[in-house]
Subunit: 197 residues, 2 copies
DNA sequence: GTCTATAGACGGATAGAC
DNA sequence: GTCTATCCGTCTATAGAC
């Protein structure tokens, strides 16, 4: 079974290290916040020294930006994929699917997404600015879902309100959800029961 | 108009300074987070030097604890006062009143409450531990309101779910509400429209 | 790619004068 | 009550060896 040198699938050493750093950074940002994430500790957990991180990332800001950017992309991708599998479902069902996948990704899969949500308010302006594009893109996905569901124009206040209310109810789960006691399905069902019509 | 020395109403110098410190600390915690709030900057804004803060507070932790504790008490007091003025309203109306006062206090009045909400996830364990009592007390207020509204026992999952959903939808407003564009009344009305029955 | 070593700045906290 | 002065720790980031 020969290697395929024209299309090398194995990761380079640098790429692997990069991903390790990103994963640990996401977990630490989620747990301790942006400014309490020390690059020394981070490097130790990855198995290198602090200075070595700068081979992979230009600065702490740049690292945080990438973590938080991935945080949006991971959830967005998960939601879009799930929706693509149910092209014929009703607008209501599509909205509920999005809610389910969003909170599920947030709570079980991705430190990146929760790091984004928790750290965004306190991250330097330069970082926040670099996140506007991805954030707006994901916001638009929700706006489209809710527009279709409410059958209202995108600019309607009802659409924005419902979007903020739903994402608030979902994202706030970071503050209380305990997997040993709570159940994602049950919570989403409760939320779905609140939807109009 | 003589002073009333037996019941002096004027604040002592220390009490005034304490309150100044608390107010500025609340604003800075809300804006920059707990660990990015430097005591040097804080002292400068209050008009003193960093060392002087320690006459009023034993440590940065102690200061943060008091800010965040007040954050709960302010909202709780506002909600309880508003409810006491409408003793004969329905369970539904009482719940909506609580929602209204909660978000209004959060967004316009109190840096203390928003500092609590934003900083809680990242504050040292010792601080979090000292906040459990006040937090549980306010949680209970909401549980009672929702129990009455849903007519279910306090332990029912529906009650917990609706409490988390509503507080999530309300507290999340910290992340998007823009007073020049958004309207508290309109948002609360949208939320009330989602309530069952 | 990762290391060592360190620069340079800033953090919380304390002691003692006033 | 507030100040000055300072201790001591930690932080991000950089330079250069390997």
């Amino acid at each position: 079974m020969p290697a395929t040198p024209t299309k090398p699938r194995q990761k380079t050493k640098a790429a692997t290290a990069r991903q390790d750093i990103l994963a640990v950074a996401a977990r630490k940002m989620r747990q301790t916040g942006y400014s309490d994430m020390s690059l020394r500790d981070l490097a130790t957990e990855v198995g290198m020294k602090a200075g070595s991180l700068y081979y992979h990332f230009a600065s702490k800001d740049a690292l945080a930006t990438e973590v938080m950017c991935l945080g949006v992309e991971v959830v967005q991708q998960a939601v879009q994929t799930a929706l693509a599998k149910q092209p014929d479902s009703t607008a209501r069902d599509r909205l509920i699917i999005a809610m389910h996948v969003h909170i599920e990704t947030l709570l079980s899969e991705s430190d990146f997404s929760s790091a984004h949500i928790r750290c965004y308010p306190f991250v330097p302006d330069t970082v926040r600015n670099e996140l506007t594009t991805v954030r707006k893109s994901y916001d638009k996905d929700w706006n489209d879902l809710i527009c279709a569901f409410l059958d209202k124009p995108a600019e309607a206040a009802e659409v924005r309100h419902l979007r903020h209310a739903l994402l608030g109810a979902l994202n706030w789960s970071l503050e209380w959800f305990d997997p040993s006691r709570d159940d994602i399905n049950a919570y989403v069902k409760s939320l779905a029961h609140l939807l109009p019509e």
